[in-house]
């Protein structure tokens, strides 16, 4: 709890209680879980992935590899949350991960002792044999693997997506980001500035606050001024707690915003997170840089952390990460941290610097303060199990590699490490920008942007504040095309910041001893320098392969602190230039993103569109079971009390054939087609001829692709000289419409044809059965429904109960049928009347399942069931519908290809089982004779049902050369039996069409 100074970033009057591993602690409002734990002197927060080694907090930002916890419980729980990013709130509960039974005493740590037996690729190598044992191994491996636990219940939170368009997006609110935003704001650009932390300022927040000065103003005040100014601009929006995690083509960037992080997971009742989908004309990346660890033996002990992060805890949160601090560095930035700690009265044991000589500004100050500086030394080992206690140093470049000789031992409770800086170029490379390697400080820095992107500040590899302040106005002038007009003098900021001394690349200490030591490169995945060496020895050369084999950089932190070090080690071990190795891919997301946020509002009932017919409520009220057909909810069958699926189905099928059935066919696609050339258009897209179809007549059509295969079928009615109504199958309505548009717009622009979807404008009531005429006569007794006046395949406009309806005599059951198209708003009204007046004929509503049985009894196909994209109309025995006279139609040429005219194509036939009680399985393969495997298959069952009208099962099938094999026997070899079947005609009921033509 103790804080070193009055710090504005935390509110000391607001004490917050929280729980870590069940124990209660206190922090202040403004703390992260990491700063609050460190203030309570807790470094040890988890156990490592593979060896269960004790691990402590390493950083103070999104790069954190070790400090990951299970946050909250039950449905609110989230695994692998970074302690450095969780803002504490009252009652917060966090749990350490990957340990049993306790964090301080973890039995899994036995793995650490056994580590010589867990080399890189351990699982690949060990669990290969015998192959069938994998299932057994997997059980144990799955139990041992993983860090946190995923929640078992539905996420109770809401998430949303938000689209935003702007002239300039600035990612990052450090000095460079703020400066950029200010210039753009003054030039009236629409600016969005986003910051991943809860506070703006970036690196400024880690600094002392008084230093450096910009235009003689302390940096903290400068920052606050500029933020206040930005907030005053109406053309600027600035948001914090928002991480930009992806950069796509055409400057589309995704960011995730935590809306109420201070409230806590279980108390966020409104929207928890928002995904910003940002399209910006230009993008400035001011994403900063991440400090790099140095690899040495036992470099993973709690208490060993990044120097600048320690500085941030000190200056932003007033938390000292330790009492006896040792610094280990290869550059000047750690000196600034050491000086800050010294001024706060903490014991700086020494600064260990791998450089032999240092003359920078801060090294001089440190020397003047009397801080011990050990130039030319490196750390060779550390001691201390749950917290570092002691460090062993050795003079660099001495030949004696025995750490016990010529070495120095220093006691300390914290080691602050700085191995230099790695520019945060993740978003830049996602945008497909090109990097170059700078040997000077071992960094990959942006070289050339692919999109409208500019990197500024340390993201661009610029660490010199003078240079940054000087270059931003001129760079922006070019990038934003400002022509210098509104850049006033006041924006040319000057700083007193002194340039740091040079950096010396060091990737790893004591590399001769890699094989005998534990030098961790990737903390989260427990990858050591030894693993990388082994991978190279085993022949992995590409950095991408080494990464996958060792899993370095593949944990949830995606190697933000480890990737460059791994490259450096490979480069040293193979004597290859890093620039030749290249980097691994910087994949999105930059930091883990919740699935809930990605899904947004597209969950549960909003996951997919649900379409219902005008009569839907009636179906629901009458106990219908539903099936999904595309997005439509269609009534499947209507079970009465004590009825199961098959008894309900049989009743519906039988009642329709015997008397009267009613079907809601509203879902069938309806396309209104008008224009001078409609007849010609239909001639081209259907296989049969349309020019001579009389007005008021209907015709069945089959639509092919240009490959000759059936893609849709349906009845089209000629409503007028230049007016047709086409019906399509339910599932294909949209794709047919789009295909027709395609032909019209791209191949036949000379045709004057207009297509309009009217599927939802009409409800369709289909009255089927011998008594359907009696019912419709009852509804309108004035109209002449006789066969002569209104025959099969014709259409009439009829007034039914005061509603103008389009009535077609078309039938999908083989029965006398009236298909009534009624404006949607009246559909339910007319449906109710039909049900009411139909009672005397035992009117029976039937669903899609009965519809399938009824049509199959009559041998009518369903596109997508009898066809699968490889079936021509000839295969379906529909030669009659394929015009021989037309010069061309879509698919005609392909019907004469060698493959489509060959003899043994699969053709549509009927099947009857020898035992009429057995119902074949749809999809069952058929053979001519039972042999040893593999049997020669001659076809398959496409539809199979029981018919209460035939009192037997029956099926439709596609059989090679089937049309000429009627009467022959086939077998369906099933798992437990072989079913004997006979090939029949596919029309099982009324082949003479007497019923349909009544």
């Amino acid at each position: 709890m103790k804080r070193l100074q009055n710090n504005k970033n935390i509110e000391k009057n607001k004490i917050i209680n929280f729980y870590f591993d069940g124990k209660k602690y206190q922090g202040y409002k403004g703390d992260t879980l990491a700063s609050a734990l460190l203030a309570n002197k807790i470094h040890l927060v988890g156990r490592s992935f593979k060896y269960h080694r004790p691990r402590g907090i390493v950083s103070a930002g999104s790069e954190e590899p070790n400090g990951i916890v299970q946050l909250e419980t039950r449905e609110y729980t989230e695994p692998n949350r970074r302690v450095t990013e969780i803002q504490i709130y009252e009652g917060l509960k966090a749990f350490s991960q990957n340990n049993w039974p306790f964090l301080n005493f973890d039995l899994g740590a036995i793995n650490d002792l056994l580590s010589p037996f867990f080399p890189a690729g351990f699982y690949y190598k060990t669990f290969m044999w015998p192959p069938k044992f994998w299932k057994t191994y997997e059980f144990f491996i799955r139990h041992a693997a993983g860090l946190g636990k995923s929640p078992k219940k539905d996420d109770p939170h809401k998430y949303e997506h938000f689209h935003y368009h702007c002239d300039l997006l600035v990612v990052g609110s450090g000095i460079s980001g703020l400066y950029t935003a200010e210039i753009a704001a003054k030039n009236n650009l629409k600016v969005l500035l986003i910051e991943q932390e809860n506070e703006f300022g970036g690196e400024i927040l880690s600094s002392h606050g008084d230093n450096p000065k910009i235009n003689n103003i302390p940096i903290n005040i400068w920052k606050n001024d500029i933020i206040n100014k930005l907030k005053g601009y109406s053309n600027v929006k600035i948001i914090s707690n928002t991480t930009c995690f992806a950069y796509f083509h055409y400057n589309l960037l995704l960011a995730i915003q935590d809306l109420e992080p201070e409230k806590g997971l279980s108390k966020t009742h409104e929207i928890r997170q928002r995904i910003w989908k940002i399209r910006s004309k230009k993008v400035v990346l001011a994403t900063g840089a991440i400090e790099r660890p140095i690899i040495f033996n036992n470099n993973d002990r709690p208490g060993i952390m990044l120097a600048n992060s320690a500085r941030k805890y000190l200056n932003k949160y007033g938390v000292s990460v330790g009492q006896n601090l040792l610094f280990f560095t290869n550059n000047d930035s750690a000196y600034e941290t050491a000086i800050d700690f010294f001024h706060k009265g903490l014991n700086v044991q020494a600064i260990v610097d791998v450089r032999n000589e240092t003359n920078g500004h801060f090294t001089k100050i440190a020397k003047d303060l009397g801080i011990t500086i050990l130039n030319g030394y490196e750390i060779v080992n550390t001691i201390g199990r749950l917290r570092v206690q002691e460090v062993k140093l050795k003079k660099l470049h001495t030949n004696n590699i025995d750490e016990n000789k010529s070495s120095i031992t220093i006691k300390c409770d914290t080691i602050c490490v700085s191995g230099g800086w790695t520019p945060t170029v993740h978003l830049f490379t996602q945008s497909k920008g090109k990097l170059k390697y700078r040997d000077l400080d071992g960094s990959f820095i942006p070289e050339r942007a692919f999109q409208n992107t500019l990197c500024v500040g340390s993201c661009n590899g610029d660490y010199d504040l003078h240079k940054i302040l000087e270059s931003i106005p001129s760079n922006l002038n070019n990038f934003l095309d400002l022509k210098g007009s509104k850049l006033s003098n006041e924006e040319n900021y000057k700083t007193d910041k002194v340039l740091n001394d040079n950096h010396k690349n060091i990737w790893i200490t004591s590399k001769q001893k890699i094989s005998k030591t534990k030098m961790f490169v990737d903390f989260q995945n427990d990858v050591t320098a030894k693993d990388i060496k082994l991978a190279l020895k085993e022949g992995f050369q590409s950095i991408e392969h080494v990464k996958r084999y060792t899993t370095t950089g593949m944990a949830t932190d995606q190697g933000k602190t480890s990737n460059v070090n791994a490259l450096g080690i490979i480069s040293e071990l193979t004597n290859t230039d890093i620039s030749e190795l290249g980097t691994t891919t910087f994949r999105l997301p930059y930091t883990p993103v919740t699935f809930g946020a990605l899904a947004g509002r597209h969950v549960k009932e909003f996951f997919d569109l649900e379409r219902t017919t005008p009569m839907h409520d009636w179906h629901v009220n009458n106990n219908a079971m539903f099936e999904d057909v595309g997005q439509w909810k269609r009534a499947w069958y209507y079970p009465k009390k004590n009825e199961n699926f098959s008894s309900a189905l049989n009743r519906e099928v039988k009642a329709t054939r015997d008397s009267l059935g009613i079907l809601d066919a509203s879902t069938l696609g309806k396309i209104d087609i008008q224009g001078r050339d409609v007849s010609e258009f239909l001639n081209r897209i259907y296989t049969n001829a349309w020019s001579k179809l009389e007005i008021g007549k209907c015709r069945y059509g089959v639509m092919l692709g240009d490959d000759g295969m059936v893609i849709d079928d349906g009845v089209t009615t000629r409503l007028g000289e230049y007016h047709y109504l086409m019906s399509t199958t339910t599932g294909n309505a949209a794709s047919v419409m789009s295909k027709l548009e395609d032909w019209l717009q791209t191949e036949w622009p000379e045709l004057e044809v207009y297509l309009t979807s009217v599927t939802e404008q009409y409800g369709t009531i289909s009255l089927n059965g011998p008594n359907s005429r009696k019912l419709i006569e009852k509804i309108n007794s004035d109209f002449d429904f006789s066969k002569n006046n209104f025959p099969h395949m014709s259409y009439k406009n009829i007034n039914l109960c005061g509603i103008d309806c389009r009535v077609m005599r078309i039938s999908f059951t083989g029965e006398l049928c009236y298909e009534i198209n009624v404006p949607s708003v009246y559909a339910k009204y007319l449906w109710d009347i039909c049900i009411d007046k139909g009672q005397e004929y035992n009117i029976t509503p039937y669903g899609t399942e009965a519809m399938h049985v009824l049509r199959a009894e009559k041998g009518f196909i369903i596109v997508g069931q009898e066809t699968d994209g490889s079936v021509t109309p000839v295969d379906l025995d529909m030669d009659w519908i394929v015009s021989k006279k037309k010069f061309d139609f879509v698919g005609k040429r392909a019907l004469n290809r060698s493959d489509t005219i060959k003899k043994d194509r699969k053709q549509l036939v009927g099947l009857k089982t020898k035992d009429p009680k057995i119902i074949l399985e749809e999809g069952a393969q058929l053979v001519e004779k039972i042999t040893t495997l593999p049997m020669k298959m001659v076809g398959h069952v496409t539809s199979s049902y029981y018919s209460p009208n035939l009192n037997s099962s029956f099926a439709l099938a596609l059989i090679k050369g089937g049309l000429e094999k009627k009467g022959e026997k086939l077998f369906a070899p099933m798992q437990n039996e072989t079913i004997e079947v006979e090939i029949t005609d596919p029309v099982f009921i009324d082949p003479q069409n007497t019923r349909i033509n009544q």
């Binding site: 055409y250 170059k436 692919f450 290249g582 891919t585 910087f586 717009q745 791209t746």
Partner: protein, 116 residues
């Protein structure tokens, strides 16, 4: 996600569009005169170029109009958008040297490697 400049509606997100494959494959006017191979050529054979590619797009969730678009498939740069029936513009694209190569920027995963 592309930003596609529909010739009828202006710039819209890619999510509103669907791609209809290679452009400028006219349906033959004399199908009966063609051999099976010639018909198969029209039906099935597509260039699948890496680099400059002319393709058809449909503003499916917008104006429903089809149009043509020239794109560098190696870098996903949209080089031109033009209406159906218009002649394809002559364009330069930063195309890879070999079938398996990459353009020097804007493509693939190798953001730095200088290996050939």
């Amino acid at each position: 996600m592309f930003l596609i400049n529909c010739p009828y509606c202006g710039e819209r997100d890619q999510a509103e569009f669907s791609c209809g494959g290679e452009a400028h494959i006219a349906r033959p006017k004399n199908p009966p005169d063609l051999t099976d191979d010639q018909w198969a050529e029209y039906l099935f054979i597509r260039k699948n170029d890496k680099g400059l590619h002319y393709e058809r797009w449909n503003h499916a969730f917008g104006c429903r109009q089809w149009f043509n678009l020239a794109r560098n498939t190696a870098t996903d740069e949209i080089l031109a958008v033009y209406k159906m029936g218009d002649k394809p513009p002559k364009l330069y694209a930063n195309v890879p040297i070999t079938p398996s190569g990459e353009p020097d920027i804007g493509s693939g995963n190798l953001s730095t490697s200088k290996k050939k």
